[in-house]
Subunit: 125 residues, 2 copies
DNA sequence: TCAAAGCATTAATCTAGATTAAGATTTCGG
DNA sequence: CCGAAATCTTAATCTAGATTAATGCTTTGA
């Protein structure tokens, strides 16, 4: 399991994506531009490296899945409350919840660990 | 110039992307799943249609650019204030500003038109 | 030419979630 | 097994941006 994240100008981490088994993990920043993401393993992982510029070797379907995931992620950040994002996350990625500490889930959802604690206490209507 | 947007459960529109000349506009929702986005033209436009499932006909580079744009959009929504997002937008897409009404810029930035008005009044440090 | 509708701005409140600060609970090296 | 450090939770405040509402400013079309 890998994670990618930015560190903002206040030094705060924001998790961009988790990558469990068989996922492609990448910083999509254009070539010749400094990358924005940090990537590290949060479990022991076996990783295959693909050189920058060899993106055509990745299965098209995986790229299309990524586009879908990112579209959903943007819409989620724009339209939904913290509670709705949390509920969507546990429904969509139930496996990941088991493997990742709360504070990283919070970071991925774009909220603080405190806010996540509060939200978890809520009766999900 | 096209725009794509969702309508949330409260009936509110949220603009996902603008597409000026030569951009690919798509709803990346997986096949056999109902689309999420509405797309319409905000200027007279000449549009080329690509059938769903023929994504391999799109230049790889355009797909990679899209990935980069979406990555930046997610990070922007997670890390930046309304003012920062606005400043980034006018720097990155100065042409679009000229062609699109304020309220659509606000929607794209994930804020209300009122908040955008306020933010524009601010001395940009 | 003028009324009506849509658009932008300003200002007064309100609220989801941030921040701050304590506890409580789990994890883990030695 | 124990103590220290990290993690999670709870609660009190604070704040960016939402909501509401009122006031002008463009369009537009009849």
């Amino acid at each position: 399991m890998l994670r990618s994240y930015v560190i903002d100008e206040k030094g705060k981490e924001h998790i961009f994506l988790f990558a469990p088994e068989n996922w492609v993990m990448t910083d999509s920043t254009a070539r010749n531009t400094p990358c924005k993401l940090f990537i590290d393993a949060i479990e022991n992982s076996e990783v295959y490296i693909l050189e920058k510029g060899k993106e055509d070797k990745i299965e098209l379907q995986k790229i299309l899945n990524r586009l879908e995931a990112l579209q959903n992620r943007v819409l989620m950040m724009m339209c939904s409350t913290a509670l709705e994002r949390y509920e969507h996350f546990i429904k969509t990625y139930p496996k990941i919840i088991q493997r990742v500490p709360q504070r990283m889930i919070a970071s991925y959802l774009g909220i603080t660990p405190e806010a996540l604690s509060k939200v978890k206490g809520k009766p999900k209507k």
